[in-house]
């Protein structure tokens, strides 16, 4: 587990802003483009203050043109800049998929390694805000499917800041997916500068009996479930991959070799999503160590409903995790 107990307590949103602030100060080629990112500081108010610091030339309000601004990001990136393209809701990346997948992700390879696309696409994920089916999706499985993209889904302010800084310095397109429900989540970040490499999982809790692989906000559900499980005498290890690509397969497999049981928890739609990939990596890599099948908990495979009573049913929950862990550990 990353030790960073000595530092300042800030929110997840502030961590993102600090990363951008620091990197924009460090490198004049970094700029931000997106809808209402400047004066409004994004609809989630995450970037408030950047406009004052860097002016409208580097914090650019765009028209409502997701494909256009992503393409502009690619063009700026291959010609020497380091754009951060802000796509307000992950649901809207559907409009920019050609630019993300056919352009940003493939340009380096198609050019035989000559052109580079050092670009960050910041977007959001996560249900629970009663925003209904077109403002609640978590589509990071899609981005992770695409060779040429890297994908970070931080779960804490510490990870968010460190991963964002690394992403900005990367010479590849990196998609950072932020769970909207975590912007006010607090955590400690170091006073001094730091970065976090992409592709290194973080053990958020050490345990012996079962591994809970959890991403983004699901990490906090897994930690809460671990408390409940501890009370039942089940010691859960919580492993956060932090990036879905590169994926730290070794860390996941090693944890499960130790615990011999695993549940993978992610807020994307379950089918053909992140849980399937990670579960099959574990089921393969730790095959001879497993005492039970690797289980998965993703979002329910339905368009996310508006009505709170229904929406809540679609999101993985602490009881879901606890129940499944109990079953896997033979406690029922």
């Amino acid at each position: 587990m990353s030790t960073h107990e000595n530092g300042r307590e800030i929110t997840f949103g502030e961590a993102i802003k600090e990363a951008l602030m620091e990197e924009m100060h460090r490198d004049s080629h970094v700029f931000i483009i997106g809808e209402d990112v400047a004066a409004a500081g994004t609809v989630f108010k995450v970037l408030t203050g950047l406009l004052d610091e860097f002016g409208p030339e580097r914090v650019i309000d765009s028209p409502i043109s997701e494909a256009g601004i992503t393409g502009i990001g690619v063009g700026a990136a291959v010609t020497g800049m380091r754009p951060v393209v802000d796509i307000m809701f992950g649901d809207f990346t559907t409009l920019a998929m050609d630019q993300m997948v056919n352009q940003a992700a493939k340009t380096h390879y198609m050019s035989g390694g000559k052109l580079r696309v050092p670009m960050v696409i910041r977007t959001t994920m996560g249900a629970g805000r009663r925003s209904a089916a077109q403002h609640s999706q978590s589509l990071h499985a899609w981005y992770s499917h695409v060779p040429g993209l890297k994908v970070a889904i931080p779960s804490t302010p510490y990870d968010a800041k460190g991963l964002m800084k690394t992403a900005i310095r990367e010479d590849n397109p990196v998609v950072i997916v932020e769970d909207k429900m975590m912007y006010s989540l607090k955590g400690i970040v170091p006073s001094e500068e730091y970065t976090i490499p992409l592709g290194v999982a973080d053990v958020k809790r050490v345990g012996e009996d079962i591994t809970l692989v959890a991403t983004s906000q699901m990490v906090h559900l897994a930690l809460e479930a671990s408390q409940k499980l501890a009370a039942l005498g089940i010691s859960a290890e919580v492993v956060d991959p932090r990036t879905t690509f590169p994926l730290d397969k070794q860390a996941l497999v090693n944890s499960v070799k130790k615990t011999s049981r695993a549940i993978v928890i992610d807020q994307g739609y379950q089918r053909y999503g992140v849980t399937g990939e990670i579960a099959s990596v574990i089921a393969d890599g730790a095959f001879y160590y497993l005492d039970a099948p690797v289980k998965r908990i993703g979002a329910m495979d339905v368009p996310i409903p508006f009505s709170p009573i229904l929406e809540d049913l679609t999101i993985p929950s602490v009881p879901d995790i606890v129940e499944m862990a109990k079953t896997l550990c033979g406690r029922y």
């Binding site: 004066a39 409004a40 925003s131 089916a133 009505s307």
Partner: protein, 336 residues
């Protein structure tokens, strides 16, 4: 229809004579229904009774009502995130709308859609849309379907000025014009997309965006429901007669914030807001004219208002009392 020196089309007063007083009183009723519905929605939000957010249509009532009064019930509309006005104007019922906003099973979408996705097949409303510009293709496809079925329906695509940033609009307009489809694109230019003034996100001339495809286009004030109605009636007639699509640019203003939680509005001045609210209130413009030209007693408007207010109260009470969907509903209707 005549134009003023800026090219904006003006009211043809003689043509108005054809329309009955009853029509205008009903128009007024429709507009105040939207206004009161939205005020109540705001109240539901501030009293934490409504989940999520809502984008209020207050100030823009003349556009939805002017357009929809010129449509038949079986004509189609596609709507936007700011869609309550379109829904009501096309004939939706207050109780089922409130129920939807509250996530109740009696809502138009059984609580599954919410404010941003209300659809009502019975009144031809193909649905609000959470994706800015997302319905441009749908409206155009409805028009293609009309043509293929040899029907004489018409499809109207409502959208905000911000949606002009979306490429899909241009793809759709190109095809609508190529294939001469009965679709009318109604741009509600309320001067802002979220917190950004439209001139910061829109270059050139908005009307020219339709002109570029050879499409018939008209620019009007969207605050005068008489003008909206008159203009759309003509465009609908053309479209029904197989004379093709049109683009209508309506200048309007949202009197409230982008959504119910947008209280401070640092991106625009209180003066600007006040000017629109006092000088350009669509309800007042209509009622003033009815009083001065049609000799309607001012009291009639308060009477209508009270009637509608009572309806709204009944509807909201219905919705507040209504049930949430059963948990079993959650995975129903994923597939037909």
């Amino acid at each position: 229809m005549s134009q003023d020196e800026t090219g904006i089309s003006q009211l043809d007063l003689t043509e108005l004579e054809e329309t009955t007083l009853d029509h205008w009183l009903n128009t007024y009723r429709q507009m105040i229904k939207i206004r009161l519905f939205e005020e109540k929605t705001n109240e539901l939000y501030t009293s934490a009774k409504m989940p999520g957010l809502a984008h209020l249509y207050i100030g823009e009532e003349a556009v939805a009502v002017g357009v929809c009064e010129a449509l038949r019930q079986d004509d189609y509309i596609t709507s936007t995130h700011r869609g309550h006005g379109h829904c009501l104007a096309k004939g939706a019922k207050l109780d089922k709308m409130f129920s939807e906003l509250l996530g109740k099973v009696d809502g138009y979408c059984r609580g599954k859609g919410g404010s941003m996705h209300i659809a009502d097949q019975d009144t031809g409303n193909l649905g609000a849309n959470g994706i800015v510009g997302g319905s441009a293709g749908i409206a155009t496809g409805a028009a293609l379907s009309i043509k293929m079925r040899a029907s004489d329906q018409v499809a109207v695509c409502f959208f905000g000025d911000g949606a002009l940033g979306q490429g899909l609009f241009y793809e759709s307009m190109n095809m609508a014009q190529l294939w001469n489809l009965p679709v009318i694109y109604v741009c509600e230019n309320n001067l802002y997309g979220e917190y950004t003034p439209t001139e910061k996100s829109t270059s050139g001339n908005r009307l020219a965006r339709a002109e570029a495809f050879g499409m018939d286009n008209v620019e009007i004030s969207g605050q005068d429901v008489r003008l909206v109605y008159q203009t759309v009636k003509r465009l609908v007639e053309r479209a029904r007669a197989g004379e093709g699509p049109a683009f209508l640019l309506c200048h309007t203003y949202r009197f409230r914030g982008h959504h119910v939680g947008d209280i401070d509005r640092p991106y625009r001045s209180r003066e600007e807001e006040e000017k629109w609210q006092t000088e350009n209130d669509p309800l007042k413009i209509l009622s003033d004219w009815l009083v001065s030209d049609k000799m309607v007693e001012p009291d009639l408007f308060s009477q209508i208002e009270e009637e509608v207010r009572a309806e709204v109260e009944v509807a909201v009470t219905f919705a507040l009392d209504a049930s949430f969907p059963d948990e079993m509903e959650v995975d129903a209707h994923v597939y037909a």
